[in-house]
Structures are given as C-alpha cells and as structure tokens.
Symmetry: C2
Subunit: 874 residues, 2 copies
Amino acid sequence: MSYKYVYLFSEGNGSMRELLGGKGANLAEMTNLGMPVPQGFTVTTEACTKYYEDGRQINAEIEAEIYEYLAKMEQICGKKFGDVKNPLLVSVRSGARASMPGMMDTILNLGLNDTVVEGLAELTGNPRFAYDSYRRFIQMFSDVVMEVPKKNFEVIIDELKEKKGVKLDTELDVNDMKELVKLFKAYYKEQKGVDFPTEPKEQLLEAVKAVFRSWDNPRAIVYRRMNDIPSSWGTAVNVQSMVFGNMGDDSGTGVAFTRNPSTGEKKLYGEFLMNAQGEDVVAGIRTPQSIDQLREVMPAVYDQFAKIAQTLEDHYRDMQDMEFTIEKGKLYMLQTRNGKRTAAAALKIAVDLVEEKMLTKEEAILKVEPKQLDSLLHPQFDAAALKKATPIAKGLPASPGAACGKVYFTAEEAVAAAEAGNKVVLVRLETSPEDIEGMYASQGILTVRGGMTSHAAVVARGMGTCCVAGCGEIVMHEEEKYFEVAGKTIREGDYISIDGSTGNIYGEAIDTVEAGISGDFETFMNWADEIRTLKVRTNADTPHDAEIAYKFGAEGIGLTRTEHMFFDADRIPAMREMIVSDTLEQRQKALAKLLPMQRSDFEGIFKAMHGYGVTIRFLDPPLHEFLPHTKEDIEALAKEMGMTYDKLKEKIDSLHEFNPMLGHRGCRLAVTFPEIAEMQTRAVIEAAINVNKEGMNVVPEIMIPLVGDVKELAFVKNIVTTTADSIIKEAGVELKYMVGTMIEVPRAAVTADEIAKEAEFFSFGTNDLTQMGYGFSRDDAGKFLGDYYDKKIFESDPFAKLDQDGIGKLVKMAVELGRKTRPDIKLGICGEHGGDPSTVEFCHNIGLTYVSCSPFRVPIARLAAAQAKVKEGK
Amino acid sequence: MSYKYVYLFSEGNGSMRELLGGKGANLAEMTNLGMPVPQGFTVTTEACTKYYEDGRQINAEIEAEIYEYLAKMEQICGKKFGDVKNPLLVSVRSGARASMPGMMDTILNLGLNDTVVEGLAELTGNPRFAYDSYRRFIQMFSDVVMEVPKKNFEVIIDELKEKKGVKLDTELDVNDMKELVKLFKAYYKEQKGVDFPTEPKEQLLEAVKAVFRSWDNPRAIVYRRMNDIPSSWGTAVNVQSMVFGNMGDDSGTGVAFTRNPSTGEKKLYGEFLMNAQGEDVVAGIRTPQSIDQLREVMPAVYDQFAKIAQTLEDHYRDMQDMEFTIEKGKLYMLQTRNGKRTAAAALKIAVDLVEEKMLTKEEAILKVEPKQLDSLLHPQFDAAALKKATPIAKGLPASPGAACGKVYFTAEEAVAAAEAGNKVVLVRLETSPEDIEGMYASQGILTVRGGMTSHAAVVARGMGTCCVAGCGEIVMHEEEKYFEVAGKTIREGDYISIDGSTGNIYGEAIDTVEAGISGDFETFMNWADEIRTLKVRTNADTPHDAEIAYKFGAEGIGLTRTEHMFFDADRIPAMREMIVSDTLEQRQKALAKLLPMQRSDFEGIFKAMHGYGVTIRFLDPPLHEFLPHTKEDIEALAKEMGMTYDKLKEKIDSLHEFNPMLGHRGCRLAVTFPEIAEMQTRAVIEAAINVNKEGMNVVPEIMIPLVGDVKELAFVKNIVTTTADSIIKEAGVELKYMVGTMIEVPRAAVTADEIAKEAEFFSFGTNDLTQMGYGFSRDDAGKFLGDYYDKKIFESDPFAKLDQDGIGKLVKMAVELGRKTRPDIKLGICGEHGGDPSTVEFCHNIGLTYVSCSPFRVPIARLAAAQAKVKEGK
C-alpha cells in the first residue's frame, strides 16, 4: 500500500492535528469553513518520523509525493513554480502537534531566483518589492537551511546603508535591493563554496528538510523536555501560497487574539502593520498599531476580520490567536490556534466561557494548564516596581515566587535577623540539612552552586519558598560576609530581590504582593473539587506548612517527615545525644528529651488539619546526617556532650556509609533501635489523645518507611501497637490509629500482597522508588542526566515527572497486589511527583485514594485530579 | 478438634520427620522394624512452634498431653517416674527435621532426685553408678535448663580431686560422688537462689522447655543461617527411657557408620567405649576402641549390631550413622540417621550404591550435597613442596583437604584475622558450638582432644573444611597464645600447614595446588551432566580463571568483567590517563593504549574456552575507582601524568559520588563516553577475528551493564554494531556476534519486554538486583544485617542465597516478559548466586538457559542443576 504523506489544505480538517500538526489542521479547518486562506499543502508528521528513521533523509517516495501535490497546488492557485510570467511563491512553515512557539523556523518567498524575480517585478509593477522579497528570501533560506547566520546579512545591509548615508531600510531603493541580492549571493558562495540554489524545487526540498531538522535542534529539545512533548511526535511542514502584506499602503499584516491574553477580557486584542511582512511585526522595528485602529484604516477588512474571529472562537470554543495578511485590500487568514494566556486570563476565560454557555464546567476545567496556577500561589513583585528594576544577575528558577529581603550568609544569622523582624534572603554557596531553620526563616534563598534538584531547590520547593539556585556568576566571600556580582558588592544586611520564577536577581528592594485564592480562581477551583474523585493531601512537617496547605485546599497530610523536626537548634543536641549513646539507657534518656517536642509538634499539626487524616512517617535518614563533620564542629559537640574528641570522632566514623541512600535508615533504624519507634509512637498517640480531649477526632496514621520485606514491617508494627495500645489503655480513652508503610523499595512493590497483610495503608515514595528502581541517586544523577537528555535517552526529568512505563509499572503492580490482599487499603503517593499533573492523572487512573504534595502545589494537584476525571469520562 | 502434639515411638514412622524431627521419626521407624529401641515418646515440632506462638510457654493442653504419654511410657517400660523402687529415668533430646549436630542440648538421667537415687543404687547394686549418674544429671540440667555453666561444676570436681590427691574421675569413689551431689546442689542454690528441682515431672517439663528454647539460641540461629534451615521448622523433643552404658564392664556405648564416612569404604566404621555414657565418647576424654574390636569384646552383640546396621542401610538405602548402648550385655539402638560424610565418601558411596543396584543414577545424584564438592575443589599441598616438608606431629585425619595459614587460638581472633585478609588455621584444645563462626572463617582446624566423631571433626566435615583432630602430642598454652609440639614453639600468627587427609601437621607454610576431577568424582559428575538440562558457565576475567573453569566443566563464560583487566599495574596508567583527559582526543589516545591489552586478554579467554560462548561485559564501575585517594598517591600520579596536584585533585573531587552504587557507572559511562564502548567493541571483535583465523569459531557476546531503560541499551548497542560491522567489513570476514544486557536494575526487570526488543540475551546480575531491589548496599548492610538475623527478619544472607520471593520474583517477571518479546532469548544468571545450589534450582525451575558462577563452584552448580532436574521430575 502506498502511504499518504501529503495533504492539500482542502483534504484535511481540524481533528487531524496528530498527522498535520496544529497549524496544518487549523489551515485545513479554516479552508473547510470557507475562510480566505491562501491554499497549499501539508507534509505530515509521519513524513518527519520517516525522515529520522531513514537516517535524516527524505526518501524518493515522499519526494515524489511532494512534487505531485505541488502540481495540484499550482492548479488551485493558477500559478506555476518557477514560472517567470506567473510565478508561484510559497512560505514553508513548521507545525507540530503541540504549539512550540519560536522553536521552529520559517521561510518566506520561496520560489524566487534571478529570473523569477524579474517576472514578479513585472507582474506587481513593483521591482523594489520584488527585489526586497528576493533578498529577504536569500537571507532566510541561508539562515534556516544552510546555517549562514541571518545577522551576517544584516551587517551587509548596514554597510550599504552607511555607504549611502541612509538610516532606514525603507530608504533603500530598487537598485540598492538589487545590489543587496548580489552581495548576499556572493557572501553565500563565499561561505558555502557553492552558488545559491536557483532551482525552486531544490529550494523547496531543502526547506522541508530544514524544518524536519529543526525538530531536533537544541532549543526544540529543551522546550519539549520542559513541556513534556515526546520527540517521537515529529513536526509537519506547511507549504502555503504567499500573500504579501508589503505590496503597498493597501497591504498589511497582523496578529490578534479574540480575548485579551493577559487579563482574559472579552475584546479583540492585537496589532498590525501596514505595508509589512509578518517578520516585521515580530521583529519590532516599526511600532505596530492596535487592532482597533484597523477599523479606521480599513473598515470593511476590519469587519470581515472581526466576524471571522468570532466565528473561529465559536467554532473552537476557546480564545483564538490569529495571524492575517491584507494584500491589496484583500484579507487572508494565515493561522489560527488556541491562544496562550496568563494564568489569570486562563481562569477568567474559562469562567466566562461557562457563563456564556459556550463550555460545560468539565470542558472549562481542561482549559487551564495546572502548572500555570503556580504563578498565582506565590508572592509576586509589584508590577510597577518591577518595571523600574534591572536584574544584576541570573540563576536557575529553582522555586517560584518573588522575595525581597536583607542578605545573610549563615542560617544562624538569617534566623536571628528574622527574629528581629527583618525580611531575609539567605545567600549560601550551597545549602545542607543544617541550614533548614535558616531556610525557613527566609523569604528567599539564593545559592551559588547546585541545580534544579539541589538541596536548596528541593527543600525550597517543598516549603514554597522562593529560590534562585546555581548563580555561578556570584563571587562569594562567605567569611567576609559579602558577595560580588556584575561589578557590585552586596554586603550582609543589604537588600536584594530575587525572582524564583525567572531566576532574576536584583540588587535592590522591590515590593512584593501576597497571593490568595479568590474571584475566578475560587469559582474555578470549586468546580474542580466538584468534579474530581482523587483526594489531595499535602506534605507538611510543621503546623505552619499544614496551615498554608489547608488554606490551599489540602484534605489531610500524606507525609509528615519527623526528622526535619530534629534539625532545630533546640532539638538537635538531644538527637545527637541519642545517636552517640553507647547504651540503651543513655539512648532512652535522650529520647525522653525529644518526646515532649515531638508531641507538641504533632498536636500543632493535628490542629492545623482540623480533623483531616495525618500520616506521620517515622525517622528515616541515616543517623550520621545529624552529626557534624568538620573538625571544629566535632570539637564543639564533643565538649557539649562531655566526650573526648577522639571518642566522638570514632563514633562519627563508625556511622560512615559508602552509599547512604542504601544504608542504615528507614525502618532499619527501628529494627536496630526499637526505642526510637517507641518514643515516636508515644509522641503521636499522646498528641492525638490530647487534641481529641479538646473535641477533635484525630485518627493518626503511623507510617513505617523503607520497608522491603513484610517481616520488617511486622517487627516495627509490633513495637508500635504494643506501645500505642498500652498508652491508650492507660489513658482510659478510645483512640483509633492506623499503621501503614511507604512503598519506596522495589522489592516492596513486587511483594505488596505480603506487605498488605500488615499494612493498613500504602504511601508510594516515588522519589526513592525512582532512585532504586532506576539505580541512580538524585545526588549523583546530575552528572549524567545532561547526556541522557542530549542523547534523547530521557525526554523528561524522572524526578519531576513519574516514569509511568517502569517506575509507574511498579506502583501499579503494588496497587493491584495490595488490593488483592486488602481490598479497602488506603493508597496514596507522597513523593514530589504528587504535585506533577501528568503523575496526578496516572494516580487517578490506577485508582489511588489520594496524592500528597507540597502545600503550594495543592491547587495544581486539585485541578490535575479534576482534569484526570474529565479525561477518564471521555 | 483436639490436636495431637505427642507420639509414642510405636505410633510414628520414618516418613514423619517434619512432625517428629529426624531423630524421632527414625526411632519410630526402628521400633517398627522390631529393633531394640528403648521406648519413649516424641513431642512434635508443632508443639515447638506453638510454644513460640504462645510467647515461649507450653500451654496446658500440651502439658497434659505430655503427662498422658508419660503414663503410657511408664506402662510400656514397666517403670515409674519418681518411683524409688522401680524408677523410670529418661533422656531428653532435641531432634529437628534436619540434622543439627552439636547445636541442640541433651539431658540424660532425668528423673533422679535424693530419694530416687537411693532406689537406683539399690536396684543396680551400684551406688557409685547411681550417684555418678545423679551428679551428671545435676550438672547437665543446670547447664542446659538453668544456664549455670557446666564448667563451673568441673571446677568443683577438680577441687575435690585435688583435695583427694587423685587425677581421674574414675578414681573418685561413691562417697566422693555423694559429696559432689551435695556440693553441686549447694552451688546451684547459691547461683539460682532456689533448691534444685526434685519433682521429676517438673524436671521433665523444664527440660522440654529448654529444648524448645535452645532452638532459638544464637548458635542454632547461626547454624541455620549457614545451612538454610528456616526457623519456622522448630525442633521436636524425644523423651526416651534411659539405658546405661556405664553399668560396668559388660556395658558400653558407641557410634558407628555402615560405611567409612571419610573414604566411603563399605565396612562398618566407628568406635565405642566400655563402661561409659554417650557423652564420654563425644567428649573425647578417654580414647575409644575401634568398632572392630567389639567383635572380640562381645561377639554376639557385635553380630547383632552388624546385622541391624546392614538392615538399616538396606532399609534407608543410604549409609547410616548409628548410636548404640550396651547395658549389661544387651544391645540398644539409640539413633540412626543418614550419616554425614566427606565429599569423597559421599561420591564413592553414591557410585557404589548405584553399582550395588540399591539406587538409580537419579537417586544417587540426590545423595551428595552440592556444597560438599567444594572440599574436593580446593587446594591440596603441592607435591614437591610437601616432599621437602617433615611433619612435626600427627593427629586424626578428621576432614580431608590441605590448609596452610596463620595460627589463631580463639574463634574471635580467627574471624578477625580472616577479615583482615589472612589465611587462618584455628587451633583449639577442643571445639564447641561457640566456635562455629571461627571455624567457618578458617582454612583449617586443629584440635588437641577429641576423636573422629568429636565436634570439630563432625562440623569440619560438614563444612568441607580441612581438620586434624585429637593431636594429643600438642601442649597447649591457650592463654599465652602458643603451643609446643616436638620441641617447637608455635605462636599466634606463625604459619602452620595441616593435612586433613593424613592428619599430618607441619610447622611451616606449604604451597597448595588446585584439585582436579577424576575417579568416582568424574563418574558421578558425568551422571549429573547426563541428567541436567541447565547449562553451567563461569565468571572469569582472565585466561587463567577460564582454564580452571573449563577443567571443572564450564560450558562457556557468563561474565567477563573487563574492568578487572584495567587494574593491572601495567595498565592502570593508561586507564587513569583516559579518565583525567579533558578532551575526546586525549581520551581516544589513552584508549588506543588500552586496546591491544584488552584484545590480547580476549584472545586468551576465547582460546581457553575452546569455542564455548564468552560473554564480555563492558566497563562497569564508576571511574573514580581507578584513581588514587591519598595525598601521596595523588601527588605521585600527578607527577606521572604531568599534571599539577591541584588539577588532578580537582578532577578526582569532581568524580566524587554520594552513592557510588547509584552513580555514573555501567552503560551510563558509555552514554557519556561512547569512545570507551567503541574501543571495547574493537578489542572484542578484533580478538574474535584473530582467533577464528586460527580455526576457532567464536561468537562473542557483548553485554551492556546497568541498563534500566531500553533506550540506554539501544544507544550503546548502536555504537557497538556500528563499530563492529565496520571492522568486520574491513577485515572481509564473516563474524557473528550478539549484543545483550545485564538485568540488574529493578526497572529493567519490569520492562524486560521492551528491553528484549534490543537485547539478544539477558544475564541476571542478582548482586546488584538484590542491592537495588532491597535498597541496601552490600558495603553498608553489614551494619544492620546482624540485627536482622537476631530479630529473625532475615534467616539467610540475601547476597549468598537469592531471595526467591522478592528479588526472584523480579527475575521471573523479566524471564516471562523477555520471552514474550523474543521467544528464543538466551537467559542466564551471573551474580554470585549462580553457584548457590538453592538458587541454581530456582534458575532451573524458571527456565534459564544457564547459570554462571566462579570457577570453583562450577561442579557444585553442575550437580545442583542435575538435582533440580531430578526433583522437577518427582
């Protein structure tokens, strides 16, 4: 069977975006709707895939089909490719399934050569236009197809203008244009060693190849990774008859939205330029006019356009982003697509479209990208103040939001300054667990080293604190308490501002405004809650985090990491005392000091959650994480502990691990030191008893981490139930509690039927499951993940987006096995993936009870859960 | 339903070992066969399990049942428990399903107290015997039941002997025995605060409890772990009417085998002591007589015994190990069981039994424990070196093989020295169960006391460790850590050599050489090869290892670790040069130096394997493993490399990993540095072309390690095939090769269907799969595995015996998924588990093509594979 790789616009339709790409499908749809579209054809995304399969070449079959459709197009347009008398000129544009703005490259005026240009000049009676078009084509083709940079041609233009003593391109006359064509062709030959291709068909085939090639350029790869677009999709190529907005004052070109993409206001919004080609609008050399003014300039054209716009919005039932050209007073539609919009606009448009009865609530829910909500949940810079500021440096946008505060260089000083009422930005070379309190006390965190998954980035995202990481331009003088960047010196106590959404760093104070959920946002989120069935919990280690999450709609806590509580300055001594103990008695004594602190934390968290379920994970990290490592710190601790330096050093050394990730942690700690689990059980149960006395009805969920074998869980569970039951009995109260486990070790996933015999709930720790399932630790994977993206082995970060094919398969297996043993088992996910929309959808589809994510991602997860439900119904 | 927890010997039979334990089942079977067995009853293993379920107590139901059966036993024996006139005395012995020699505790003469002893004296007319029995009972009961150490009582005896000026126990008279009873009881009261229990029923119940308890003592746990015995089995308790071998010169006791347990020779083999109780034989205080001599001493008894022995062997169709007692000229059988034997004896017996038509080949195959073969595969003394050496002493040849090592005098020091990398010979007065771990850690064991059936001898044979026992010439100074023999003084750390086949002891180090397969061993292994369907390959990194393995029957190489080749002193410089390279060109230059070395290694390995398949794994460990870490070494290397110290240090630091196990290694190296895979491909393919030119027909198998995602494999495979195909084309030859992967990452196991699209074979790397599947690294797990064994979360070392329930499930899943995609996929295992018999059986059952193990385990795996096939047919 001969395969069809090319479609006329009149052969396709709007539903064919997988095959024709978004642009091609919409051109076909507009053609079907009888709108004025310059005709042409689309080379399919499958042709692109074939191009890569064939080792980056267009095979003879596809080439022949392209020429066949070129002939059909000539017939439709009544023009001929390469014909001097009546030349067909075309644009060649990429168009992938998903919109990838700015990622792909465009060529206009293709089909021109030394003879055709003369024909065009004659036909239009405008030789300057003809030669201007020709030189633009040479420039674009050279740049896009042959990798001779466009800007080198601009230099040639500038030289000519200087020589002629003029400033504007428009001041160049027809002879100048002819001269430029000559100079461009000469430069091309100098660069490439061959003449500029004069055969239009050759130009066309090279241009198609260039579009295919551009699918794989580094910008495209990065864009796809950030937007979860698989590289297997490929791009289509649209070959369209040229229309010219630069044919005189009755010609023009423009872009417009059916609603305001910033605010969502229902009003045509856009701009146009008379006597210009599309690139002139984008380039911003001349200032375009507002679309309103078109009504005055060309009233009939405006009315026609406004009507088309309304038709398109009604047809697509979404805000449209359109391109048009006016050639000698006649309107042509070059593109329409669902328009990109800000989060605020997206919410307003979604709510308005429901009110206008254009969409159902379920349909509206799908119109907002969950990740977009993030920008509405964090403090932002005051827009007016931001306009006046200039960044002094840029790091990685590691955790969104805006922060402004005084610079401090150590966690202790940050805490002290915050306690004294200052807003603080903590600036560190890189952060470590000891900095937690300082990070909590700060409005924002700035690090010199570390990537998007560095300690600072991960912790900051978890806390919802703004963070800019890895700003390598900064020269740090930590000891001397200042840093230098861009010729500026910033000292302790100086104000800076950082933007965690852009990575920008400002050497001054910029006012911020707080976020909240109200208005359209609130309406919209209520709809999401009505629709979704998947519950959304939060990961919160403190009453403060729990309160934020509750405000953002969290329905319980899926993960409270008890160890974070131990890093506090007033707690870590007891923790360390416990760790360096030689005997059970010493350990119990130290644990007794920690008990009241833990208990009061739990009381606070229970209260903040207003009776929703709270899952508390028992101590997880290896003990050495709590001990100091530098000589000075060890000396100080030894003194504090009344130990010799040598003894303490020996203890610390004995805790050293080759692979801490795979070491003595999680439930293994409770196996070795049951007294830790006893103390933690006591703290949880006593706290629950205390708050229930105040009228709450808390059912605490105790979660045992890192279980790989049901016997581990049975052992620790026995400690928990023995302790809990005796406390409850002693208190003479009724208290229900649950004991469950993390599923984060691959063996636990495949033996989940056994584990469910002991576990009343599972919570999938997909961070560790990803690390162990793939066999790479997050701390080390940074070294090679770059290579993996470059070589297209990975297309997204497996720590941000759950790998559904492999790690997800383990999760799915565990869900099925767990349910087989215990049909009513409660199932959740508490890895960082819990706030990733695609993972939320996966969790909905495999039937989890809830997802749990950091407080600031709760609304995102709520929306993603609603979308998953709607999609499921489709 | 009331459950039956107790069986009379006459109620059971030989097939009931799960319920009655081995000893109980065989006592029942002998009773059924009409043999002279002192009657009694067995408390079942289920009672033991119940005891633990009930929180370590015997419930009322079981207690009542024991007393009920005690009454039945009284009736059968015509004696009464606690009756002064006609007292029933019993022995209480443990008996688990599997034989656990020396692990469990025995109490004799139970039923004695201050009044009964008088009756016994009267009844036997032998008051000294009665009181001797009584003091022995007190001693044993106190030790076993009440944890008052036996040796403390020995001190009391020694004091009395000193006071009386005598040397031997036999020189103590009846009054001395009475005195000892008084002293013992006083000491008991002093230690325990209560009187020694005088109520026989109380004694019995306490003794039964003690046996149950002893199932869980640390020695038993260690023994079970080393022998793969689940703790859930429990032990039975045998309560048997006492017969006395110490009633005078017409009494005696002994042990015997139906064939020689050292050589397999078909001839009664054993020893006996007249006028003695069983413990006297085992303790080795008096030197026993050979069983042959019994023919002269008591001809009728000998004939009866010989006939019984033959009947038992015919009945069980296996060599029997029997205990007997002669009481006043009458023979009693106390035990029979399949006898432990040396590997050589096991092979001879198996071959002989087939020739005697007693067994089929398939049955014979099951008679040899695969792990036992180990002892035949380990070094023997170099004949030339041995000729020059003169023994300094001679002991009993208790367990064959040769050993050379440094002398240590305690189990702890032996373990420590072995862990420090020393070869060790453990020298003890006599060994006890506490020494088990030290015995495992040693190359050889030498004891001063004890015979061929002493603890040391039995255990050493079981382990296949060389042992010379009962070398009475040695004068021991254990405390001072030296011994004297033949005028020589041997101190801790000095080298000695011992020959477990001759009993010779040498005061010097003697070189050892490897063993071969011939005679019965060869016959037997040929049968195994005829039977088995699972292939056996070897893990070998050098031509030398490959040659040994080929000699031991390996049918190819399942794993050649190429990195081991890079650690050679003459190669590591080029490797390091490669690692510290900054550019591709530098790296290629260094790799070019490594190419000829690798190629020649591969040529050697291909030749050593005579055309069998050879799987070569590409570079696996993280690169930092090849670099130095101390300041001096780094300085030296920097000088050698012509780099500054700082630059090299920086490079080394940049390669640091938090979790090297989960870092930049395996196929990830080839993704980052494709040139390494190119070089290795070139080395493999060129080597194959070269040896094939010499007439071989090698089809190399290139194995990509640590694949987790099919795309990783596809990427590296593309490098391999591109390189290989161009070399083959250039050489103008025909060469087949295969590309496959390790399955050692959990994700690879669950996505094996995808991976099989690219992989022509899988090799399961169960070491890493265990580490990642469980989430603990072998290097770190040592810290907590001890707790896991103590708390019975683990019963065996998951790195030695594959965890079939979890990690094995991943393997099984991968097998099924892999076959679904590629039905003819070649499947093997190359983790260390490949030589473990239980894992080999698992591999056979899930349908692997081959197992691969270290050269010395190849015969073990061949036998285990044959056994798996035979068992499958059952």
